[in-house]
């Protein structure tokens, strides 16, 4: 079952690029069908991961470490559900939204390639394979950022592509050095060799290269400059995809897998994670609060929220990791919803400038209400999902005696609330200007996916109750296992 997570999106991308132009609505149907099947498969994978702990698929039945393998464990299934859930709702949204662009089928082709890359990164058990999938999804995302081919979009895409390519080179250099030290590329085997030979200077150097490479993809603060340009420039569904899942899969997931499971975590790495997280959190939110472009404001909040995720994970305690992963899931839901809202406003009004909006609540009730829910989620107001994960992260900080970081997290949360009150005030409350009286609510497909995301925001907290807990707990266990990952994988091969 495991290879289907890559085969389905790649196959649909191929078919859409072949027949999309000739048959009407073919691209819409096939893309939605593909993401639906992927979502069902990923729910199935949660059960499999719960029952078997670790499953290994040997590609071409070559035994690892010679052949490539795909590994399914708790963390993998957690990330698969997050990615495929968001991507299904985004393809539903794109049916109507992408009508205003020409060449809709090309959009779906690139989208599916990006999805194939992301699923591949999550599921692979081979370091070089991870690099290849990283590049597939990166190249697709460079092209998608430039999809509108306006001046700003091209400029943003160029900036993103240059920084992304340099980051990829760092990752490849790190892989080359690691290969020269361990003479293997299988993740579990690398971990085994490092534990045998001991980690010298070269492993520390490799760790720094990986941190720079994947940190740039995750837009942690010293490496964040591309994100506020690239994310707002893309079409709204792609902004949602980039901010919602791409930075998490390419950045956070890859960092976690490599640092926790392969190289092995130590106190220095953890404190670097915590520091980067806290800095991203504060810098992101301070930059966000002064923005007047709706999507740019949301993009800066992505940096800030990724800071929360990294802070939680960097604590290294079970509660901190649980909070970090839960916040990762929640952020992908409410940030996609916020970007879809901004897309809906853009679709009806044709502007992203907050000062030119106002009074949209009466004419666009669905957009306004879902936006209210998402804003309260991201600001951490109970009982929405963002509250629970932020609470967990702050509690974990206090439990680990990091009062300074807990204080930073609370400050960032208050400033987040302030900046979303600004969005509510300028965009949805107030008076509608005279010339906009004939404004209409967006089409059904767009409303549907926004409502589903809003419902998940409201009930997201139930993932913490015992029935649904294994979904998160299995992912946390994989990270707590640390370098025990190699024994689990080798156990599953035999």
């Amino acid at each position: 079952m495991l290879p289907f997570f890559v085969i389905i999106p790649l196959g649909t991308a191929f078919l859409i690029s072949l027949f999309g132009k000739k048959i009407r609505n073919f691209a819409d149907c096939l893309a939605n069908l593909g993401t639906l099947i992927l979502l069902i498969l990923s729910f199935n994978s949660v059960q499999l991961a719960h029952a078997h702990k670790v499953l290994v698929y040997k590609v071409g039945s070559w035994l690892p470490p010679i052949g490539i393998c795909m590994v399914l464990d708790g963390l993998t299934s957690f990330m698969l559900v997050t990615v495929n859930l968001v991507s299904l709702l985004i393809t539903v949204y794109s049916i109507s939204y992408m009508e205003k662009y020409t060449d809709k089928y090309r959009f779906y082709t690139l989208f599916m390639l990006m999805l194939a890359g992301m699923n591949g990164i999550i599921i692979t058990g081979d370091l070089f394979n991870l690099f290849v999938f990283l590049e597939i999804s990166s190249i697709a995302s460079y092209a998608l950022v430039a999809f509108g081919t306006e001046a700003e979009e091209l400029e943003a895409s160029f900036k993103y592509a240059v920084m992304g390519s340099v980051a990829s080179s760092f990752v490849l250099l790190a892989i080359a050095l690691l290969y020269s030290y361990t003479s293997t590329l299988n993740m579990a085997d690398i971990s085994f060799v490092i534990s045998q030979k001991g980690s010298g200077m070269i492993v520390s150097f490799v760790a720094v290269l990986f941190l720079a490479g994947f940190g740039l993809k995750a837009a942690l603060v010293p490496f964040h400059a591309w994100l506020p340009d690239a994310h707002p420039s893309a079409p709204a569904p792609i902004s949602a995809m980039l901010s919602g899942v791409l930075i998490k899969v390419l950045g956070v997931y890859a960092l976690l897998r490599i640092f926790f499971n392969i190289i092995g975590i130590n106190n220095i790495t953890l404190s670097v994670f915590m520091f980067l997280g806290a800095v991203s959190m504060l810098v992101g939110v301070f930059l966000a609060i002064g923005q007047w472009d709706f999507k740019r404001l949301l993009a800066y909040h992505s940096i800030s929220q990724i800071g929360y995720v990294i802070l939680g994970l960097g604590l290294g305690t079970p509660l901190g990791i649980l909070g970090g992963l839960f916040h990762l899931f929640n952020h992908s839901i409410f940030k996609s919803l916020l970007f879809l809202n901004s897309g809906a406003v853009d679709y009806s009004l044709g502007t992203r400038d907050l000062q030119k909006m106002g009074g949209l609540r009466d004419k666009m009730p669905v957009t306004a209400n879902t936006n209210l829910i998402a804003s309260m989620s991201i600001a951490g107001i109970p009982p929405f999902n963002g509250f629970w994960s932020k609470l967990l992260i702050i509690l974990a900080c206090i439990q680990a005696n990091h009062f300074g970081y807990a204080f930073c997290a609370i400050i960032a949360s208050i400033l987040t609330l302030a900046s979303f009150m600004k969005v509510q005030k300028y965009a949805f409350l107030g008076k509608l200007s005279e010339k906009r009286q004939d404004l209409e609510e967006v089409p059904l497909a767009m409303r549907l996916s926004m409502i589903i995301l809003a419902v998940i925001c409201v009930i997201g907290g139930i993932l913490l109750i015992p029935i649904f807990k294994p979904f998160l707990q299995n992912a946390v266990n994989v990270l707590l296992l640390g370098t025990g990952y190699k024994d689990a994988v080798f156990g599953a091969i035999k």
Binding site: A161, L173, D229
Partner: protein, 112 residues
């Protein structure tokens, strides 16, 4: 040892080119240089002096052979690099259409 240092020098030249040059085309060339430096380094890791390709044939005892895996990986990496370069050059052409210049200090419509 000296080849590795030369490889590092090549990498640094590429990085300098990306960071300091103002012309878009020169930045793209810089990216290419970085990529070649990394590829070269990867091949050097598996290389041995006076060694031969690891092809197993009858009546041949192979004592000294190069590691084939880095070569296979570098082939993949070259193809990826080609895709990235093609995409960035295409974007650069479109940027020239819109802005009428290749100078990045004049292509600054995004701020904040």
């Amino acid at each position: 040892m000296s080849v590795y240092i030369l490889c590092l020098a090549l990498f640094s030249i590429g990085l300098y080119c990306v960071l300091r040059k103002r012309n878009i085309i020169k930045i793209i060339i810089g990216l290419g240089i970085i990529e070649y430096a990394v590829n070269l380094f990867f091949v050097l890791i598996g290389y041995r002096m006076h060694a031969r390709a690891p092809i197993l044939a009858k009546d041949q005892a192979i004592t000294n052979m190069v590691d084939p895996i880095p070569q296979a990986l570098v082939l993949t990496s070259i193809v990826i690099g080609l895709a990235v370069t093609a995409l960035i050059v295409a974007i650069a052409i479109r940027i020239y259409d819109k802005y009428g210049t290749f100078d990045i200090t004049k292509i600054r419509r995004l701020r904040g």
